[in-house]
């Protein structure tokens, strides 16, 4: 059970984020919702990288006996690399969304999605 806890938190975060995106009316809250989903997905990737008894794959700070005798016990750093890339992309998307919100506020004078509806179906 305790090993499944991170996965439960991941799913909970994704659903909380989706809830915010779908039901909140404030644009900033929608963006916060997307950020929460993103954190959930990143947490998922990080959790995948965990191996019981593994060593952090940093050669200079590894315990000497690991670095010399058993380099195989270091975990493969692919999920960590994926997470870093994903965080960087997330920052770019977040910045773009917030700058769009600034412009939208200048045009419409509000952040309420119910009032920002010039484009109709």
């Amino acid at each position: 059970m305790i090993y499944n806890l991170p996965f439960i938190i991941v799913v909970a975060m994704i659903f909380i984020g989706l809830f915010a995106v779908i039901f909140k009316r404030n644009l900033v809250k929608i963006v916060i919702g997307i950020s929460i989903i993103e954190s959930g997905v990143n947490l998922f990737l990080i959790t995948l990288g965990y191996r019981e008894g593994g060593v952090v794959p940093i050669f200079t700070s590894a315990p000497p006996e690991v670095a010399e005798n058993a380099p195989g016990s270091m975990v493969l750093p692919v999920p960590q690399a994926l997470t870093l890339t994903s965080i960087v992309i997330g920052v770019a998307v977040l910045a773009l969304m917030l700058s769009l919100i600034m412009h939208i506020y200048r045009h419409y004078g509000t952040l309420d999605v119910r009032k920002i509806r010039r484009l109709k179906e």
Binding site: L48, G72, V93, H103, L119
Partner: protein, 545 residues
């Protein structure tokens, strides 16, 4: 090894690198003046086009080409003997060549069109930078053989498209459309990343060939499949995730819309690749032993067919009631996406009939399923050209009259002669009338669909006729009718815009008159490459099958 072979060898990487570097050099070059900048952009894109031609020729003659970044193959071997497929790989088969070919055609024509269309705007150095980044990301999505790499290019395409949709930042509607787009597509991309994590957790690999080799179709794989297809269908504009598409297509500058179509098709390509290569051993179900896989194929096929039919109907009916020219074309674009998905669905469902329908029916449906896939792939390029041409015409009319509302236009055929001719060709092509390319691919789709289920084929034909009706109405209200005094001074649009539109018209007519040329040389090999997933795998992991 001479320089020619070296360039061919490195062309997959160069095709992505050249537009990327050009994009970041453009602000520097535009310090000199705008003519030099335009020349620089078009020359660099032509070089990319040349590289694509080289790569395409090589792939068509010698088969799949792979390009591994930072090593000879994808495997990294640890001292303890463990092997991991970790290196990033570009894997190019005929399907990829087909897609990058479409992209570069649309990119070059879109850029040529921009020269006159965007002339009077500010911030053009940034405009070209972002357009080139969008082209880079589209080409990257279509070349890569690595799922995470695909995700990165997907996000780049999402960011750049959003920035370009909001290019007319003085209009509130453009901002609204851009925000809608980025919310939808970033959530889609995050779910794609989640699905990728699920696959990585099971197979310890990220490149498509390795995953395709060991895919089990367990419950987790099924969840990953649904997440990936939903995310990509969202980016492609399948109903019920189509609501961003008319907004963004309608509000972006038309030259951008034209290149956005290529970016949308890249997501569609992703869906093709995932269904037929990544999950190849499920959806090409070779072994009859596992009937559950065959059943899965049928279910998946009918889900996609249902969504596709709804997409076609929604697109056509919403197009009927629009009063804005570009929004109307955008809904027609939704309908066209529906046709492409219809082809995919029919392919999957016919596979089911092929394995369960007895020997005679089975053999017949082997052919129909391949016709459906060919039609669907052929329709990708036709959709790009036809819808793209209509958007360029709408842009030309906006350029000449500063009007987008259909109610306020009329009698423009007097002033805009060439544009009128281009529009007529576009409307006939998009609604599948005989001498043009839309007819060739739609006929293939109708033919295979009719064998599977006549009612669906009839709906598809009727929707196509409705599309013709919609555009004939537009034709009358925009180009025909009495001369309006306020449009007396309207002049024909500049030459570069006419050249851009004329180039597409020439391609449309060639494809319409000689469809077999395209189908035999590009489309059918592309479909073969897509479904022969074992060849795709064995290029990366030698010794498989």
């Amino acid at each position: 090894m001479n320089w020619f072979e070296i360039i061919t060898m490195h062309s997959p990487a160069l095709i992505v690198a050249v537009p990327l570097l050009t994009g970041f050099l453009t602000p520097l070059v535009s310090r000199i003046n705008s003519t030099v900048r335009n020349l620089f952009v078009i020359i660099m894109l032509s070089i990319t086009g040349f590289l694509i031609a080289l790569l395409g020729y090589d792939v068509l003659t010698n088969g799949i080409r792979t390009y591994v970044f930072g090593g000879g193959n994808t495997v990294v071997t640890l001292p303890s003997g463990l092997m991991f497929h970790v290196r990033i790989i570009f894997e190019v088969d005929v399907m990829n060549v087909f897609m990058i070919f479409i992209t570069i055609i649309l990119a070059i024509i879109g850029i040529v069109y921009s020269f006159s269309f965007m002339k009077k705007e500010d911030g053009l150095d940034k405009y070209y930078t972002i357009v080139l980044l969008l082209i880079t990301s589209t080409l990257g999505m279509e070349l890569t053989g690595d799922l995470f790499n695909f995700f990165v290019f997907l996000e780049i395409s999402c960011i750049t498209s959003c920035a370009l949709i909001a290019f007319w930042v003085h209009k509130g509607e453009a901002l609204e459309a851009a925000f809608k787009y980025i919310v939808v597509s970033s959530i889609g991309a995050l779910f794609f990343l989640f699905a990728l994590g699920l696959l990585y957790a099971q197979y310890n690999a990220l490149n498509m060939a390795t995953i395709a080799n060991s895919i089990q179709f367990s419950i987790i794989d099924q969840a990953a499949l649904i997440l990936i297809i939903a995310a990509l269908a969202m980016k492609a504009g399948l109903v019920p995730m189509h609501m961003w598409l008319p907004d963004s297509y309608g509000e972006a500058p038309p030259s951008i819309t034209f290149i956005l179509i290529a970016a949308t098709q890249a997501s569609l390509y992703g869906a093709f690749r995932v269904l037929f290569t990544l999950y190849g051993n499920v959806f090409n179900s070779v072994n009859l032993a596992s009937l559950s896989l065959v059943l899965t194929t049928n279910t998946m096929g009918w889900i996609i067919i249902t969504l596709a039919i709804i997409t076609i109907l929604v697109g056509v009916f919403m197009a009927l009631i629009q009063t804005d020219f570009k929004r109307l074309i955008a809904f027609a674009a939704v309908a066209e996406i529906g046709y492409i998905f219809l082809g995919i669905g029919v392919r999957l469902a016919s596979k089911y009939v092929q394995y369960t329908g007895g020997s005679a029916t089975g053999i017949a449906f082997t052919e129909y399923s391949s016709i459906a896939l060919n039609g669907s792939i052929f329709h990708i390029i036709n959709d790009c050209l036809d819808i793209g041409l209509l958007f360029l015409v709408a842009g030309a009319i906006y350029y000449a009259t500063k009007e987008t509302s259909l109610d306020k236009m009329g009698g423009l055929a007097r002033n805009l002669k060439y544009t009128t001719i281009f529009f007529v060709i576009g409307l006939l092509a998009v609604s599948g009338m005989p001498p043009f390319n839309g007819f060739a691919s739609k006929l293939m789709l109708y033919e295979s669909t009719f064998q599977l289920n006549p009612i669906i084929a009839i709906i598809a034909v009727l929707a196509s006729i409705m599309l013709l009706a919609v555009f004939v109405k537009v034709f009358y209200s925009v180009f025909m009718g009495p001369e309006q005094p306020k449009f007396k001074e309207v002049k024909e649009v500049p030459k570069t815009m006419l050249i851009a539109m004329g180039a597409i018209v020439v391609i449309i007519i060639i494809f319409g008159l000689f469809p077999n040329l395209v189908i035999n040389n590009l489309v059918a090999p592309a479909a073969n490459a897509l479904t022969n997933y074992t060849t795709y795998i064995s290029k990366v992991i030698p010794g498989v099958i």
